[in-house]
């Protein structure tokens, strides 16, 4: 009897261990919980101020929990973390569909391939250690478009200041704040190299004199379709590099100065190797951090369009908005083994809201508020705007660099809906939501 019990305990323990790789809700430190770590000398210091050598085991686990809580591995390659399983990963299915390896009929794959443009490639977090920790923290709290070639953007998470601090420290455990040489002659040589190497074919450098939108657009390399994708890996690498190339206006705040030249000389991740000398890499780095950059003009947040006079039926608003975009994250749990996507069953640190935007009955039933009660997504806010419309417009505010208190912009991590799409939703609601 004792042997059986021991065996069962052992099997159960193994089962529990293997399950930690799956995306179950993990217990995470509560907001505002200890952000201090104990150094080897035993003194408590703020986590953001210590190097990796100073991070105790407990602090590392806590920061790793941030990776699990916000499910970074659903989009990114994350060091020391398993890759999310295919059906929980935001990009793998799309990549397989484009590669022709997804389990579906060939004609279905062709149809999907035409539709799927976003969520194809995401940067690896394995190389985030070259970034400036303060920038990473700011970016986690206030994400913005860094990669002009990518449709997908970093989503605005429900992350607290303390959590962003811990996560930034986990990703950038060590910082080298040493400045780099920006002598005018070096900067001038860097600019010449930038032009000669045609860096602008992959990178925008908005606000700088060298920025050339047309050159960048012309440099786009499309992913080869199957079967060419199998035989032309170089072209695919270039396609990924173009998609993920960051706008270099952010480089001076984003990358640790001492890491910049090293990265240009020997890039990791998606950027192709340039085969240039160390001195040339230093000149390019000097140019990137020292060339004048014009301040960004304030984006104007567009205004909602007026309600249409014609009737907007459910079929139209569903086809052009809810089914077209929202459905992918706000789906029917019953049709997917209980997982209705992050906007329904929870994910990326968001609690389950139970919002199903796939059907008329689904959308009519609203979403869970912070309690256990469902609340209409059409309820009018104090200014008379229906709540769902406020979320859609808030995405425009976020795209302009702002945010709306208490209203998260939707759709999350992809561009705002067009004003015409929002007008359809607005009109359909104003007309009493006809089916």
């Amino acid at each position: 009897m004792k042997r059986v019990a021991i065996l069962l305990v052992a099997i159960a323990t193994l089962g529990a261990c293997s399950r930690t790789e799956k995306w179950t809700e993990q217990a995470t430190p509560s907001e505002g919980s200890s952000t201090e770590v104990t150094t080897s000398s035993g003194s408590a210091v703020p986590s953001a101020a210590v190097s990796s050598e100073g991070l105790g085991t407990v602090a590392r686990v806590a920061a790793g929990d941030m990776i699990e809580k916000f499910q970074c591995a659903r989009c990114h390659e994350v060091p020391q973390t398993g890759v999310a399983e295919r059906d929980k990963h935001c990009f793998t299915c799309h990549q397989q569909i484009h590669d022709g390896t997804f389990d579906a009929k060939p004609e279905t794959l062709v149809k999907w391939r035409g539709r799927i443009q976003s969520l194809r490639h995401a940067p690896s977090l394995a190389h985030a250690d070259r970034l400036q920790r303060a920038w990473v923290k700011r970016f986690l709290l206030h994400p913005h478009d860094v990669r002009p070639g990518s449709i997908a953007e970093m989503p605005r998470l429900a992350i607290s200041d303390a959590e962003a601090d811990r996560l930034a420290t986990f990703l950038v455990p060590v910082e080298d704040a040493a400045p780099i040489d920006t002598a005018p002659a070096l900067v001038a040589r860097g600019e010449k190299l930038y032009r000669d190497l045609a860096c602008g074919r992959c990178h925008r450098f908005t606000g700088a004199a060298v920025d050339d939108a047309a050159l960048h657009a012309g440099g786009r390399v499309a992913d080869p379709p199957p079967p060419a994708i199998e035989t032309d890996p170089a072209r695919r690498s270039l396609a990924i590099a173009w998609t993920l190339a960051p706008d270099l206006r952010f480089a001076r705040d984003r990358v640790q100065p001492a890491q910049l030249a090293a990265w240009i000389e020997a890039p990791r991740g998606a950027m192709p190797k340039l085969s240039i000398s160390r001195d040339d890499a230093r000149a390019l780095a000097a140019f990137l951090v020292a060339t004048p950059v014009v301040a960004r003009s304030n984006h104007v947040v567009p205004k909602r369009l007026p309600i249409l006079e014609r009737e907007v039926p459910w079929a139209e608003v569903s086809a052009r908005v809810f089914h077209d975009t929202c459905w992918h994250c706000h789906a029917v749990p019953d049709f997917a083994h209980g997982d209705g996507g992050p906007g329904n069953s929870g994910g990326f640190g968001f609690a389950p809201r139970g919002l199903d935007l796939s059907s008329y009955t689904g959308i009519s039933q609203g979403a869970f508020d912070r309690g256990s009660e469902r609340r209409s997504i059409f309820e009018k806010l104090p200014d008379g705007t229906p709540r769902v419309v406020a979320h859609l417009m808030a995405r425009h505010v976020e795209a302009a660099g702002g945010s709306v208190d208490g209203i998260r912009g939707m759709p999350l991590g992809i561009p705002a809906l067009t004003l015409e799409q929002i007008q359809l939703v607005d009109t359909w609601i104003a007309q009493g939501r006809p089916q």
Partner: protein, 184 residues
Amino acid sequence: MPGRLTLLTTTALTLIAALVTPNHAAACGNADRMEHDDAVKRIAQIEFHLRYEQHWLADQALPTPGLGTWGTEELEDRATDLRYVLDLRWKKRKVGHAVEWFRERPRKTLEHRAWLAEALVENDTLHEARTILRDLDKRDVMPDGHGYATLARITQGDERIAALSKCRKRAVVKSICGAAPRTT
């Protein structure tokens, strides 16, 4: 010995819990399943027939509940929902079973509450049905026109007129809004 039994029971339950955790779920909602999962496609088709009041077609596509032909517990429950809704709306039968099912069903949504109200009306339990539907209306979370059609049947005066108006807006087949009133 009782201690050993407790340990064994706990261990066995832990083991079962570890084994029954779903290992497959869709991140991207159900976009791909709607295209090539036959069970999901079939359920969606039956729901379409019900939405358009095509009861005979829905009946043809629905096997007897409990046969386990849908592959997952969620789809099995969903098929059972549809069977009871169809029975209620088409043949007015198994009303008591429907009330019981929609009351006790795991993973209930507001649509199940609206269906429970429909079943309660057929079961002559109008007061409870009225309470449920008034609550859904007040919170503006009524799933569809059928809920308003049912509310119109069991209310009078301005409340009935308002329910009928919303029913005509939100029902796919407007004729459901003209069902005979039920009063007690």
